[in-house]
Subunit: 189 residues, 2 copies
Amino acid sequence: MPVATIKFYLREGLLHPGVPTARNQADYGEKHVARLRLTRILTGVGQLSLASVREVFAAIDDPLLSCHGLCCLVNAAMFSERPMSAEEGASESARAQVDDFIDKLGWRVGPDAPGRVALAQALDGLQGLGWGADVGVFGPYAAAVERLACFERDSMPTGPAETVVAQTILFEVALVTLRRMAQEHSWVS
Amino acid sequence: MPVATIKFYLREGLLHPGVPTARNQADYGEKHVARLRLTRILTGVGQLSLASVREVFAAIDDPLLSCHGLCCLVNAAMFSERPMSAEEGASESARAQVDDFIDKLGWRVGPDAPGRVALAQALDGLQGLGWGADVGVFGPYAAAVERLACFERDSMPTGPAETVVAQTILFEVALVTLRRMAQEHSWVS
């Protein structure tokens, strides 16, 4: 990683200063390396703005925030960068169907989770296609991601909060990427 | 939809002109409505630029392009808007592991599919976390999206190309959204 990038992160407050060892030298430890690695993941594949990265780091440094709270915050940051819920919002009817769907799944997801609006928007879009799509069409998708969430929780090392956040984002990228390749494949066979 | 938006799409060449019925009136048919609907989905939840939308429409209007070709083009457009593969590229080693992984899945995906680089970047990120992640960790994700691709192909009405493209994007949004909610849920239970 270029020194200029590290200096930029320091100036932007994304990296704690190292321990000064000489007039223009400082020592950086394992924690700094972990933070640098996560910064690259968040701004790179995660495409978060520096403002969002700063929020995520504040959450990581907050000893009172649970893994659940951190996960909600990272999700909110990801949604805010790709404003699916931009201008339009979703119809009342789609919102109600999605809330009911999440209830039936038994998922404990906050009433104001941005995912609810985004899913309702997707439902509005599908219903506009005119083949009578029903919220139940999301059933196989919900089952798949629920299994994957269990897989991640049970088989990945949890490690420090930096690792958990990095994994969450990297596996999301992997999932989307694999989905696109699977679609390409499915049209050949 | 506001008239100004429709006029904007006309000016930008995203919508074919209607059939003139009076000096400042024109008739728009079912095809126009489908195109408008798709434009909103592509620029809204799909977050494609107008340039990409224009490319997608040119592909839809190309009678020689197969569903597979259209799917590749839409995927490439989605990747280009969210440049996972931006500056950095992926390591040779991750590239080779991903190519081998896709081979073993038996997926027919072009050698230059942008998904290969994006997946290799995710693998590089995971390997940087230091717990010895191997490309096989993507196995459950690949299996899940392959099942979902079959589900979409077999149980959704195919309809015109506009519908296929809209569905592909809407289900991707639904998948990501549901994944984030499932993660939130998994940290509570």
